[in-house]
Amino acid sequence: MPRLRVALTVVGVAGVASLLLAAFLDLPDFGSVPHPYGARAVEAALDQQTANAVSSVMFDQRGMDTLGEEFILFTAAVGAMLLLRRLADETEADRLDAHHLGAGVFEAVRLVGMLMFPITLLVGAYVVVHGQVSPGGGFQGGVILASGLHVAYLAGDIPVLRRLRSLTAVDVAEAVAASGFVAVGLVAMAAGSAFLENVLPKGRLTDLLSGGTVPLLNVVTGVEVTAALVLLVGKFLEQGLLTGAAHEDSDA
């Protein structure tokens, strides 16, 4: 590394470290109890009959923020699709069958994958729909669902991979789920409340159908996250199948 860069790094790290230390010394002590915002958020969550206070914050108290977060995910998936599109000089490899469709996967891996595939999907769906009563929710469950689909890929399940690679359905699911979040907000407006206000009946704390719009938004987010991750990972996997001028040169 050039000497100048080392010197700049040392100065920068030392400066940031001393600023951080000064800031940390002024923070409230670790574990000290008064949390004014936290206490109010918990109170509001209990009022709305949402047992999971984090879900209540995410999808009810600051649902508008989470709408933005959903669209961050949406935009990232679109951006990655744009960046990872097939270039003009690239063609898809014919070696799909031998190399990528399960040949060379150990039998044990295949067995475990087949066993884990339905279990992972079930766990993912469970986490999505129980987001208002237990830890979890649309984001966490969506990640589990998408991982489940890729467990099937790792296990060499050919039909699932084929279906995943026809990404149009996933694409549509992502767009529909993203607009579903907006639709829930608009329904609240049509009912005479503010955008994304929790207008549905709240139910009873710890019931599966409690928290008003929170379960609905959790499901919408779960679909959105699953679709976005399948799209993203699918695009990265596709790169392994592409051959083009650039690849041939680097092989040579």
Binding site: M1, R5, T9, G12, V13, V16, A17, L20, L21, F24, L25, L27, P28, D29, F30, G31, S32, V33, H35, Y37, G38, A41, V42, A45, L46, A51, N52, A53, V54, S56, V57, M58, R62, D65, T66, E69, I72, L73, T75, A76, G79, A80, L83, L84, L87, V133, S134, P135, F139, L205, T206, L232, K235, F236, Q239, G244, A246, D249, S250
Partner: protein
Amino acid sequence: MLELLPYLLSGWVFLVGCVGLVRSRNLVHAVVCLAVTQSATYILLVAIGYARGGTAPVFGDIAPTETVVDPVVQALTLTDVVVGSTVTALLLALTIQVAKQHRTIDPDEIGSLEEESKE
């Protein structure tokens, strides 16, 4: 001192990530360093939200009077994780493009290639 330890840990993780970024000779490595840097913010947020003796802010099977940790910073951490994963995905996609265009993912070599092409 013990009260400061979680905050110092997050500062240390942040700085380690930064140093890794500076020393990086590989763009994939740099993306991972950025993810490490960002994970410092998860530690800081969760540490700020901790309440002594508190449990998870989920009232599925505890009384509503129980001491719980701050759910607001936990929700912020969730947002943070989502943003972090999308940034990682986009940067890795850009890395693939760089690899295709420049046939290298060493940031120093990319700079020198540009100088060569100007000459």
